[in-house]
């Protein structure tokens, strides 16, 4: 088993974008648990290229995400956002380039399952839950535990695990539908269930592809709060088109265009950037 419990205490101090305090934080427990984040970056993408039959989806992409950071990725359709997530989660192999999780795990050499077990969780663009199973069972399957065949044959939920599931059920406001089949949930509820599944999975890095699509304003607001509370304990990478949502959560925004990074900085900086205005926000 590669999966490691997140050392909660280690990321407890306030997020420091400059990264001065992180080296000290990362040393010790995180390194001992298999994910080495001594240099303060949880995800490193350098010089990534992906092409499909001649079409270059990603060109020479460089991206770094710091430990405990909440990064928003924006960009017009076809900018390569989803393909980038595919590369990080092992669904698509880059033609060349470097992709590291922490300082030591080479993502280009790991299978999807290994990557997930190492601590990268992903929410798909279209909410994907196990429709035939109940909400509770969905969370049970996602729960961080030994996921081998033999373990599953003998698995019983411990009291602590049940409490954790209940806790997340409350967080995502699905307590009352815990026994409903997930297939019967509304679109927004499915989004929340999928986020809940990510929470119980307890990954160090969460990739969220358009998490608020199809949500009401109130739900969106709630999600923004949720994400902000998650950051610091976890690192988040959020792809979103909803600028209001991005503005309410992001401290750092990356703009992708035609497969590479166009601009990076705070939302205000990015929105002021001439090139961004040209390609994305409209002339």
């Amino acid at each position: 088993m590669r999966a490691t419990p997140v050392p909660e205490f280690m990321l407890e101090p306030a997020f420091d974008p400059a990264g001065s305090g992180r080296d000290a934080l990362g040393l010790g427990s995180a390194a001992a648990k298999g994910l080495d984040v001594r240099h303060g970056t949880i995800l490193t993408l350098e010089g990534i290229n992906v092409s499909f039959d001649g079409f270059r989806a990603i060109t020479d992409l460089n991206l770094y995400i710091g430990v405990g950071e909440l990064r928003c990725i924006i960009g017009p359709n076809g900018a390569g956002k989803t393909t980038m997530m595919d590369v990080i989660t092992g669904k698509t192999r880059p033609d060349n380039g470097v992709a590291y999780f922490g300082d030591t795990l080479d993502l280009t050499q790991m299978s999807e399952v290994e990557i997930a077990q190492a601590g990268i969780g992903r929410k798909f663009q279209k909410p994907t839950v196990f429709e035939a199973l109940s909400v509770f069972e969905n969370l049970e399957l996602a729960l961080k535990t030994d996921k081998s065949v033999w373990a599953s044959l003998r698995a019983r939920l411990s009291g602590a695990q049940k409490d954790r599931i209940e806790e997340v059920l409350t967080t995502i406001r699905l307590e009352s539908s815990r026994h409903r089949p997930a297939g019967l949930l509304s679109h927004g509820q499915k989004q929340f269930l999928e986020i809940g599944m990510l929470l119980v999975q307890d990954p160090q890095l969460l990739l969220l592809d358009e998490p608020v699509a199809g949500m009401t304003d109130a739900e969106t607001e709630f999600t923004a709060e949720l994400f902000k509370s998650l950051a610091r304990k976890h690192s988040l990478m959020v792809v979103e088109h909803d600028m209001g949502f991005v503005g309410s959560i992001a401290d750092h925004v990356t703009v992708l265009h035609q497969g590479s990074v166009l601009a990076e900085g705070s939302l205000e900086e990015v929105q002021a950037n001439e090139r961004v205005i040209e390609v994305y926000l409209g002339r």
Binding site: F52, D53, T82, T83, D86, K91, T92, Q125
Partner: protein, 523 residues
């Protein structure tokens, strides 16, 4: 050209009355069997066009013996004197030949045909003489080899001559014969040389060495023929697989429908051919040879109509549920098979090749390419080209591709998706019907015809990559050739199993088949 002139003179001689050779028929009839054998041998050594009528009559048992040992020939059912004006005295007795004499007669006939003006006939004669030539024909063969202009006939004659010379007492003659055999590419030459090299047959060391060299040469040439033959039957099998799989590639690749009844569309196409053949026999016997051509459009429309009917009644309701489609279409296939059994009977029906599809062309001594197979290879490529044009250059093709890529968007743009589905399914089934016409020309036509092709066709589609015409073509020919190359080494069944294992291993490397579209993961 002296030989041409010689041949013309001989042909003219044929026209001379039989009396020019007065006595031969009478001599033969009067002779004892031993003497008859001698006569035949001498005739075989010195063929004479004027003797043709007598030899033909002997072969067909039309020679009679009248009173006083006079010879009669039966012409149009009545006896006529072979020579002179002898009138039949009572009914002449038919002359019977024993087996030995009949063999000698065949030999004499072959020698006779060496003089024919037709290269094909001379070739057949030379091949006959390769097996049967007698030492007495040595000089005849020598003369013919020298005079022959046609390359193939000359090679065949040389082989016949070498066969004779191999048993010559003079080692020098044997040596030249062995060298001559080395230039041949005939399986017979290999047998002869191997016989010569067997323990205790040839004593002369030089001849033995030469024989070994020649044998190696012959074997090399034979190997080329064998490999070409296997490659050709591989291509032929590939073209059949292609015809069987092409329709499947359309219904599966473009519509995502697993049509287990696809094999039955082949079968219905073959039965349609049978029906068309019957119709021609009854209503237009004069044009019977053309029935396969007439069967093509009929089979296409019959199977396309059945396919469209199935699509509208059953398959339409199952889009997006491939496993259910698989089961439902299997049910359809059971019903179709049983229906054909009830209507036509469980036995195979007889579909005959027309003349222009039977026979073949001899490319190498051990390689004959049958016309039917060549036509089918060409036909398969023609159908592929037609399908490609239809899918890429017509409005229907555009619609089909649009529906394949985004059904909802296509519907919004005004593409009648339901109709397109139906037409595409009809097209796939119709192509299977065309395949059925081709299959009827080379195999048995029975209710189970389709069952034997369905698994192979699916393997072609899986291997080729879904929705890829080029992939299907390559996979079909690849599988066909691999099958035929493996067959002689390890047997047909083990070959098939090995190929299945190879496909499973291949899919490890390229899960989407040979030609797969890569793309972003859509979840």
């Amino acid at each position: 050209m002296p030989t041409a002139l010689y041949r013309i003179l001989l042909s003219l001689a044929l026209l001379l009355p039989l009396t020019a050779h007065a006595g031969e028929a009478a001599d033969f009839v009067a002779a004892s069997p031993a003497k008859q054998a001698k006569l035949l041998e001498s005739w075989a050594a010195q063929p004479d066009p004027a003797r043709q009528a007598l030899l033909d009559a002997l072969q067909q048992g039309r020679v009679g013996v009248g009173a006083g040992k006079t010879a009669f020939l039966k012409v149009d059912g009545s006896w006529q004197a072979a020579e002179g004006q002898v009138v039949a005295d009572g009914t002449p007795k038919t002359l019977r030949l024993n087996n030995r004499l009949r063999g000698l007669l065949a030999n004499a006939q072959a020698a006779q045909q060496l003089l024919s003006a037709e290269p094909a006939q001379r070739l057949a004669a030379a091949q006959e003489l390769q097996k049967k030539a007698k030492p007495s024909q040595l000089s005849l063969l020598n003369a013919q080899v020298a005079a022959e202009q046609d390359k193939a006939v000359r090679a065949a004659l040389a082989l016949a001559l070498a066969n004779l010379q191999l048993v010559d007492p003079d080692p020098a003659v044997r040596l030249s014969a062995v060298r001559l055999l080395g230039e041949s590419g005939d399986p017979l030459a290999r047998t002869r040389l191997e016989g010569l090299l067997a323990e205790g047959v040839e004593s002369d060391a030089a001849v033995r060495t030469a024989a070994e060299t020649s044998l190696a040469q012959v074997k090399r040439r034979l190997l080329v023929g064998e490999l070409l033959g296997q490659a050709f039957s591989g291509l032929s099998l590939g073209s059949i697989l292609l015809l069987a799989a092409l329709g499947l590639a359309i219904t599966f690749g473009l519509l995502g429908v697993i049509n287990m009844a696809h094999g039955e569309m082949l079968m219905l196409g073959a039965y349609t051919t049978y029906m068309v053949q019957i119709a021609f026999q009854n209503f237009a016997p004069g044009y019977l040879a053309l029935y396969p051509l007439a069967a093509l459009p009929v089979a296409f429309f019959v199977t396309a109509a059945i396919g469209m009917a199935l699509e509208r009644t059953v398959i339409r309701h199952l889009y997006g549920r491939p496993l259910e489609t698989l089961l439902a279409t299997w049910g359809i296939s059971l019903i179709l098979i049983q229906a054909v059994r009830v209507i036509f009977g469980a036995q195979n029906v007889e579909v005959a090749n027309p003349g222009w599809l039977s026979g073949g062309v001899q490319v190498l001594p051990n390689l004959v390419l049958p016309y039917s197979r060549m036509v089918i290879i060409g036909f398969a490529l023609f159908v592929v080209a037609l399908t490609w044009l239809l899918l890429n250059k017509t409005r229907l093709g555009l619609n089909v591709r649009a529906v394949t890529q985004n059904r909802n968007m296509a519907a919004c743009c005004g593409v009648p998706t339901g109709r397109v589905d139906m037409l595409a399914f009809g097209l796939g089934s119709g192509i299977a019907g065309l395949g059925g016409v081709a299959l009827s020309q080379i195999g048995n036509v029975g209710p189970d015809l389709g069952q034997s092709y369905i698994i192979d066709s699916f393997l072609v589609v899986v291997l080729g990559g879904v929705g890829q015409l080029a992939g299907s073509v390559l996979a079909a020919f690849g599988l066909g050739i691999a099958n035929k190359l493996l067959e002689p080494q390890i047997g047909a069944v083990l070959g098939k199993i090995l190929i299945l294992a190879l496909i499973i291993l291949f899919i490890q490397k390229r899960p989407q088949g040979l030609f797969a579209l890569k793309g972003r993961v859509i979840d």
